[in-house]
Amino acid sequence: MNKNFRLEIFKKASLCRNFEERVIENVNNKKITTPVYVSAGQEFIAATLSSICKKKKIKPLIFGQHRCHSTYLAFGGNIIKLIDELLGRESGCTKGKGGSASIHSKDINMFGHDGLMGSNGPIGVGACFATKKPTIIFLGDAAAEEDYVLGALGWASHKKLPILFIVEDNDLSILTKKSVRRNWNMKDVARSFKLEGHDIKDDPKEIEKHSNLFFKKPMLLNINTNRIYWHAGSGIDNKKTFDRFRNEKTKLGNQAIKIDEQYKINIKKLWKLQLEKQ
C-alpha cells in the first residue's frame, strides 16, 4: 500500500477517533444522555473500506449496525448532523429519533438500523438483490450469529450478489466472548455457503489485499478488531486493549501526528459550536 493512500485512510480514522473522543467527553459531562455505541478502536475498518470505495468510484448501499458512528463519518456522513443526532435534535441525521444506534443518511446511501441485531443482514441482501447495486452490510461478531443472517448469507451467495459482508469482530457480545457462544468462525461459514470468505486483522493493508474482488462476487470479511470503550457508554473494560489507531499513528510518524492534531482542533470546535446552540 502506498503511503499516500495509507495517510488517506488514516485521515478518515482520525476523523472518526476524534469524533468519538468528544462523544465520550460529552457522555461524561452529561451533555449526551441517550445510550451511545462508540466505535473507537474499530475505525480502521470503515476508514479503509470507504477509501477503497472512493478509489473505485463506488458509492455503495450501506447497511450499518448499531455501532456505526465511524461507518457514517468515514463514508462521508455530515458530522454536524451526527452531533445533532446524538444531542437528540430534530436537525440530526435521523431527526433526533435514531440516536447513536439508528443512524440514517440518504446523502450517503446509509440505511437506519432498527436495533434488532443482524436484521440489516437480510434487509441489505434484499436491497442489493432488488437494485443490483454494490452493497456493504456491517455486522458485529454476535449479530453475525443470528439465524436470519446465516439464511441471508446463503441466499446472497446463491444469487451471486455484488455484496460485501463485513463482520466487525471485536470478540464481544456486550461482554460475552465468542468462545462462550460458539466453536466456529464466520470465514468457514461463508466458505461453506460458497462465498469468498476471509478472516483478517483490521490492518488497512490486509483489507486492501482483498479489494480486487469487492462487489465482483459475494464476499465476507471477518475483520478482527478491538472495541476500546464499553458496549454502551464511556467506560473502559480493559486498558491494555490493542489500539490500531495509536499503532498506525506511530508507524506513519509526523504527517499522521499533524493530521490528527488538526482534526482534534477542528472537531472540538464543531462540538463546541453545536453545544452552544442549545
Partner: protein
C-alpha cells in the same frame, strides 16, 4: 429488611437450579450485572446457559429443553426481542400439549423497560402472546406475586409468559386492590402502570373523587374478580385500563370483556400508536400520573355531558 422483587427473582432462579434440576437460558446472562441482579452468579454446570445470538433458534432451543423435564427459564432481556424469540415458542411449545399430549413447560421471563432505548426493545409486548392459544400470561410486580407465578408454573405443565418490568425490581411492597360500591371510576392497571395508579388515586382523592383500583396480575387467562365487576357496575363513570403495551392488544380486549359483563364503558390507555426513538423527545412511555388524571377528567366530563343531554 423486606425482600425486593429483584431478590425474589434471584432466589427463585437459584432454587430452580439447585433444587429442581432446572435450567436458565438466555443471551449474555453472566455479563453486566446478571440481568439486573436477578440471576445467581453460577456456572453453566450449575444450569446458567449462555446462548448464542441466534434469537429465533434460541427460542427453539428453549422449546426443546422444555420437552425434557427440566422446566427451562428463558430470559428475554427486552420484551421487544420477542418478535424473533417468540415464533417457535408460540407455534410449537404452546401447541404441543394440545396436539400431541406432550407438555412443554417453559417459564419465559420477558423483561420490559423504557426510556431512551430506541424503536424495538422496550415496554411490554404481551399482546404478541395474548392472541395465541396454549400460553398463560402473568405480570408480577411484587415479591408475593412473583412467588405465586413460579409456584403456579411448577404446579402445572403450561408455557408461562411472565411479563416483568425492570422498574419493579426494587419494589418490596405488595399492591392491594381498592374496591367499593361508591366510586367515580375504577382503574384496572397492568405491569408498571400499577404504581402510577396508586399515585393517581391519592391525588384525585384530594379533589374528592373516589377511585377504585383493580390490580391485573393474570393477563391470560384474564381473571375478572366478581368484586371488580361489582365496583365497575356501581361506579359513576365506568372504568379505564392502563397498560405498558400498545392499546390495541391486551388492553382493548380486556375492555371489551369487561364491557360485555357490565353495563359500563371501559376506556383504555397504553403506549401511543407510534415508534419510540432514542431521544427523550421521541420516547413512547406508558401513561403517567398526569396523563391518566387528564384522561380520567375527560371521561368524567364526557359522561356528565352525555347524561345531561339525555
Amino acid at each position: 429488611m423486606e425482600i425486593t422483587v429483584r431478590e425474589t427473582i434471584k432466589k427463585t432462579v437459584l432454587k430452580h437450579l439447585k433444587e429442581k434440576n432446572g435450567l436458565i437460558l438466555g443471551q449474555c446472562l453472566s455479563a453486566v450485572g446478571w440481568v439486573g441482579g436477578t440471576i445467581p452468579e453460577l456456572t453453566e454446570k450449575e444450569g446458567v446457559i449462555e446462548l448464542s445470538m441466534a434469537d429465533v433458534a434460541n427460542g427453539g432451543i428453549v422449546v426443546g429443553a422444555g420437552l425434557s423435564n427440566r422446566r427451562p427459564i428463558y430470559v428475554i432481556r427486552y420484551q421487544g426481542f420477542n418478535w424473533f424469540n417468540a415464533p417457535i415458542i408460540l407455534n410449537y411449545a404452546c401447541k404441543s400439549k394440545e396436539l400431541w399430549n406432550v407438555p412443554c413447560p417453559i417459564f419465559i421471563r420477558g423483561i420490559a423497560m423504557e426510556g431512551s432505548i430506541g424503536p424495538v426493545a422496550g415496554s411490554s409486548h404481551c399482546s404478541l402472546y395474548y392472541r395465541m392459544p396454549g400460553v398463560k400470561i402473568i405480570s408480577p410486580m411484587t415479591p408475593k406475586e412473583y412467588k405465586l407465578a413460579y409456584k403456579s408454573f411448577m404446579n402445572e405443565d403450561e408455557v408461562y409468559y411472565v411479563s416483568e418490568h425492570r422498574a419493579s425490581y426494587g419494589n418490596h411492597k405488595e399492591l392491594n386492590d381498592f374496591l367499593s360500591d361508591d366510586v367515580d371510576i375504577i382503574i384496572f392497571s397492568i405491569s408498571i402502570t400499577r404504581f402510577e395508579a396508586q399515585k393517581v388515586k391519592e391525588t384525585l382523592e384530594k379533589e374528592n373523587l373516589k377511585i377504585a383500583i383493580a390490580n391485573i396480575l393474570w393477563i391470560k387467562p384474564f381473571e375478572i374478580k366478581d368484586q371488580w365487576l361489582r365496583t365497575l357496575e356501581k361506579s359513576k363513570h365506568g372504568g379505564i385500563i392502563l397498560d405498558d403495551d400498545y392499546e390495541s392488544g391486551v388492553a382493548s380486549d380486556m375492555a371489551y370483556q369487561l364491557m360485555k359483563l357490565s353495563s359500563k364503558k371501559v376506556e383504555v390507555m397504553g403506549l401511543k400508536n407510534q415508534s419510540a426513538g432514542f431521544s427523550k423527545k421521541s420516547d413512547n412511555l406508558p401513561p403517567n400520573e398526569k396523563e391518566i388524571i387528564k384522561k380520567i377528567r375527560e371521561i368524567i366530563k364526557k359522561n356528565v355531558n352525555y347524561k345531561n343531554t339525555l
